[in-house]
């Protein structure tokens, strides 16, 4: 603490720290109680079919969507994956199939920029399998494990099958 001379003696000036420490502890307790640690979250853009019928004819130049069918058992677990008419063993295989269709080119005129995926899921299928399917078709982590290589951004859902 600062001192000043008074009549040849050193006098100690004490600053009362108690209120500040009180406030600080109040703040700490408030922040501790309101602390919630969440893991980071990301989004997948999806398109849903509108119930109204299409007014215009489909464009002939438009490529047909890649149809992916996810079947479930009665407990909601994944029972099978189909891409078009072909059966796919797992989501890693699904990604390889999608990659073989859209190719490695990622330019604006690339096949991936126009490609569209149509997900056809059973009603009871657990939602986590849909996210797994989206993860397989939307992209994958690059070798640096930081950036994402995008495959297909246009995702569409059909009406669920009961």
């Amino acid at each position: 603490m600062k001192t000043r001379k008074s009549g040849g003696e050193l006098e100690k000036l004490e600053m009362n720290m108690t209120p500040m420490i009180d406030v600080c502890f109040q703040l700490i307790i408030f922040f501790m109680l309101s602390l919630r640690l969440y893991s980071p979250e990301g989004d997948f853009n999806v398109k849903m079919p509108v119930a109204a019928p299409r007014q215009t004819l489909p464009d002939d130049t438009q490529t047909p969507p890649i149809q992916i069918r996810l079947r479930s058992d009665r407990h909601g677990n994944l029972a099978g994956i189909q891409m078009g008419q072909r059966s796919v063993a797992n989501f890693a295989e699904l990604r390889r199939q999608v990659l073989s269709i859209v190719g490695a080119d990622r330019g604006p005129a690339a096949a991936s920029s126009n490609a569209e995926v149509e997900l056809d899921c059973d009603y009871e299928l657990k939602f986590e399998y849909v996210i797994d399917a989206l993860t397989a078709v939307v992209g994958y982590l690059a070798d640096d494990r930081q950036s994402i290589v995008h495959l297909i951004d246009k995702i569409r859902f059909t009406q669920p099958k009961k």
Binding site: C24, L35, E41, D122, L134
Partner: protein, 145 residues
């Protein structure tokens, strides 16, 4: 620090390290404070994805719907059946249009669905949103690092 005088004993502890630690804690908690926690219910166990990285730019007009494993929807702090979601969503739409002065097409419905909820129920919720005039949807997932 303790010292002895001729007549009395006095104790004067050095408070500086404690105050330093206290400020460090206050700054830590301030930086980790999450103001959007009201839109992240702990009842939801999100599915994980390695490519669900947090977006650098925030969604302009988000409308967050949380679908519990039971199929009930958590919206605006209330749990409700998807069938009764229409009324609150229409009120939300009017608020976006009148109070915020924004087009409903610019609003994005953020669907935070539990990993175990049937996909059909999520699509039911999205269909109710479509009937209320919403057009843009995103499915939220936890980032698996």
């Amino acid at each position: 620090m303790r010292y002895l005088s001729r007549q009395s004993f006095s104790s004067d502890p050095d408070m500086t390290p404690m105050i330093d630690c206290t400020f460090q804690l206050v700054i830590f908690f301030l930086l980790t404070l999450n103001f959007s926690s009201d839109e992240q219910s702990e009842l939801i166990r999100l599915p994980a994805s390695e490519i669900a990285k947090p977006a650098s730019n925030a969604i302009e007009t988000p409308v967050t719907l949380q679908v519990l494993a039971s199929g009930l929807v958590l919206f605006g702090g209330d749990q409700m059946d998807p069938a009764s979601l229409g009324g609150p969503l229409k009120r939300e739409r009017e608020m976006i249009q009148r109070v915020l002065g924004r087009d409903i097409k610019s609003a994005t419905v953020v669907v935070r669905a539990d990993r175990d909820v049937p996909t059909g129920k999520v699509q039911d919720v999205i269909r109710v949103c479509q009937n209320a005039g919403f057009e843009r949807f995103v499915l939220r997932a936890k980032w698996k690092q």
